[in-house]
């Protein structure tokens, strides 16, 4: 039936079609990522695609971009049946894509990344020169300036994504696919991005936007398709729908879109941080004298643009960066010198840590789920006795956790990498929260996670807090901060710009603080 619906859509607003997919199917070994999917996208529109983690969004788009080959199905570009065996063909057909996991060469400059594959002639100089000019132009047109000679690994993720978009525009794509672009952006960056997208649409370009954030869908898309378990469940006009309806279409049940929590009842102080300073490997000071405290039963939210010291704060508290200053946990000073500061002793002292980057730090992607369940806690007598690991106990515990946290598929013997983003995150959160720590450090808890899982993870955080534990929440998602925090501290350039109560502040004020603007009030 979904097909019928789509086709009607296609006809009813009679606009020319930029893209039409017919009966696309794709499976990775046992996993059927896409099942007979058909979809139409009208020229000059912004078309949203939403769906749970693992629904098959990225796969579908990767097929359109020629990164994967479909097992079956046809692709029409501008009404023409087009074979897209590889990305070359997609680019030729005017399709550009910004991947969920960026495809940049880390130690190349912005310029080199932009021209890669689109060079003119055998020598670099001319191409680079031309690209430099064109980049300047684009930068003006879309206010997307980025230093063309900066090396990618030195740039923030926000800028990485900017480079990816520039890559696509440089190749004169008139169909632009963005896969979860705002997952790594601050609200202001996101708004900026949307202004750009609107601008592009008004020039007649077509945009396909994958996101987990219903607000964004409602804000800027014209039509939206919903995917579920590899199938296309519906395609509707945005103005005819509502977040609640979309959420239901997506998850298959009613979803609570806002966190409901009783007012906090803070107890004794759990964490005291005084004048904490951290230098990075290059000796640059990343934390410039941070002081804060968290009490039992409250959530302190750290708002801030990525790269302003939040990561370093988590790392030093989590025990794998050194610093100086004073940090007390339940009154006990903990070591920052590096001598007794490592993940193990931190855990022993009652600190649990959900790292910002689950794939790089939180999990061993090649370990089975059950091995990851004990990761960091492998010294715990429950998991190991003497020099040996107790694998049976680990597996059993994993099965229980998977059941309680509704990890899908609930199979402890799958490798971490074969779970989708949301479910990977659930594995980490389950591991850390179920330690029932005095202090939970949690960074970007819902980055790239679907609303079903978001709802669940938020519930867990609140539950932990209500159990009288202290939570330090770092997130670039302002509304997440607003929704969960009992107090909000804003970080900018390695310092705390100020503290606010959610009830007494608003996104604009926080936005200003995040930008380092300190106004007289409060």
């Amino acid at each position: 039936m979904s097909d019928v619906q789509t086709l009607q859509q296609g006809r009813s607003d009679g606009a020319a079609l930029a893209i039409e997919l017919r009966g696309i199917s794709k499976s990775f070994g046992p996993v059927q990522a896409n099942k007979d999917i058909s979809i139409q996208v009208a020229k000059g529109t912004i078309h949203g695609i939403i769906g749970e983690n693992g629904a098959g969004k990225s796969t579908l788009m990767s097929i359109l971009y020629g990164f994967y080959k479909a097992d079956a199905g046809e692709i029409f570009v501008g009404g023409q049946k087009t074979a897209i065996p590889d990305s070359q063909a997609a680019i030729a057909a005017g399709i550009g894509m910004v991947f969920q996991h960026f495809k940049l060469v880390e130690n190349f400059t912005v310029l080199e990344n932009v021209i890669l594959g689109a060079e003119e002639g055998g020598l670099l100089k001319p191409s680079l020169g031309k690209a430099r000019k064109l980049l300047g132009q684009l930068a003006k047109d879309y206010e997307m300036d980025v230093d063309p000679d900066a090396v990618i690994e030195d740039l923030s993720v926000g800028l990485h994504q900017r480079v990816e978009i520039l890559k696509a525009l440089y190749r004169q794509a008139d169909i632009l696919i963005l896969d979860e672009p705002t997952g790594v952006l601050t609200p202001s960056e996101a708004d900026h991005l949307f202004r750009i997208l609107k601008g592009l649409r008004d020039q007649g370009k077509t945009i396909i936007l994958i996101t987990h954030k219903l607000r964004e869908i409602m804000d800027i898309t014209d039509t939206v398709s919903v995917m579920r378990r590899g199938e296309m469940t519906a395609t509707v006009k945005t103005r005819d729908t509502s977040p609640e309806q979309l959420a239901e279409l997506m998850v298959g049940r009613k979803v609570l879109l806002r966190v409901d929590k009783v007012p906090a009842t803070p107890g004794k102080t759990v964490l005291e941080v005084e004048n904490l300073r951290v230098r990075d490997a290059q000796g640059v000071e990343r934390l410039k004298g941070v002081s804060l405290d968290i009490r039992a039963g409250e959530v302190l939210g750290i708002a801030g643009v990525a790269g302003n010291g939040q990561s370093e704060l988590l790392e030093v508290l989590g025990g794998y960066a050194t610093g100086d200053g004073v940090v007390r946990l339940n009154g006990q000073a903990i070591d920052l010198s590096g001598r007794y500061s490592d993940g193990r002793s931190r855990r022993a002292s009652g600190i649990a840590h959900v790292p910002e980057d689950r794939q790089r730090e939180g999990l061993i992607m090649d370990y089975h789920a059950w091995e990851n369940t004990g990761f960091g806690y492998h010294h715990d007598p429950a998991y190991s006795s003497g020099i040996f690991m107790n694998n049976r106990a680990l597996k059993q515990d994993t099965i229980d956790k998977m059941e309680r946290f509704d990890v899908r598929p609930p199979n402890p013997n799958l490798q971490a990498k074969s779970f989708s983003g949301g479910n990977q995150q659930k594995i980490v959160v389950a591991r850390e929260i179920e330690r029932n720590p005095d202090l939970l450090l949690i960074g970007q808890p819902t980055r790239g996670v679907d609303i079903g899982a978001i709802e669940f993870i938020h519930k867990q955080i609140v539950a932990l807090r209500d159990a009288g534990k202290a939570v330090l929440l770092v997130s670039v998602e302002l509304d997440e901060i607003m929704a969960l925090s009992d107090r909000i501290a804003v970080m900018f350039d390695g310092q705390i710009m100020g503290e606010r109560l959610p009830s007494e502040t608003n996104e604009t004020e926080l936005g200003l603080l995040m930008a380092g603007v300190q106004q007289g009030a409060a």
Partner: protein, 358 residues
Amino acid sequence: MPKWVDILLIPLINLALALFVSGLVVAYIGENPFEAVAILVKGAVGSPYGWGYTLYYTTNFIFTGLAVAVAFHARLFNIGGEGQAGLGGLGVALVLLALPWPHWSIALLAAMVGAMAFGAFWAAIPAYLLAKRGSHIVITTIMFNFIASALLVYLLVNVIKVPGSMSPETARFGVSLPNANDVLPWVGFPRSTPLNVTFVVALLACVAVWVLIWRTRLGYEIRAYGHSEPAALYAGISPVRIIMVTMLISGGLSGLMAINAVMGEAERLVLDPVQGAGFVGIAVALMGRSHPVGVFLAALLFGMLYQGGAELEFERPAITREMIVVIQALVILFTGALDNMVRSPVERFFVNLNKRAA
């Protein structure tokens, strides 16, 4: 895909391909390939005599193979097996020449300590330089192979040689290990078969390594570090500790190889006691996918090639020892590097089979 296909059928097809190509080479120099293969197989496993040598070589390769495999789990490429085993030999010699040992069992234990200590020591320096200075382990271990051989030559020619004898080798050790014939008289191993109790030690080493890697906490940490250093840090696993410990174990295993070659077979330390087993160990570990069972099977395969090859060479003068090297190379190539050439089609075949079945 059924498991037996994965661990049995595919390797066998690979092996067959390797032998086929080898056959072509043999035919090229005008020998009958089928006879050649027959002699090779019969020579390797056709008699207790053959088994004696096959398993003797296997023992060497198990140790050097395990050494490389263990390091691999921590993403450390230890190609210093040659030097570490050589030093292990030195350790064995020093221990055994130091005292008159009352009984072989005590001597064996002492020699094992000596072998592991010296092997581990030779691995420890590159490990430390990597852990503390980030010096690339591949370079340092290569260099330490050369340095080890220089050291051995110096000692054998100037220091621990038997005076008056022209050959740069130590005196014979007082003790000798019971060989297969002493232990299992009824099997019919020749009195002088080189296969000795060290083989049992090697099997125990396989089990120990399996336990270490997949059952102990240390193994869990080693693999974690191998997969992702940032994650290891997050979990409170110290890279320096893992690098050091892993390389010490790896070097110790290499060193143990000397128990078989120096104490068990030569019963004295000769020039170049390792005879390239260190490098074969790399191939063995890679082909065995760094798993003790795989290492054992790969080592056995190479043991058979060594012994069968020696017989073949003896029976067919036209077939030189280099021809045997060619055959070994082809086996490594087909069973190791070109694995997917066979695997993917076979896999597809079975997937379709299941599809049709379903």
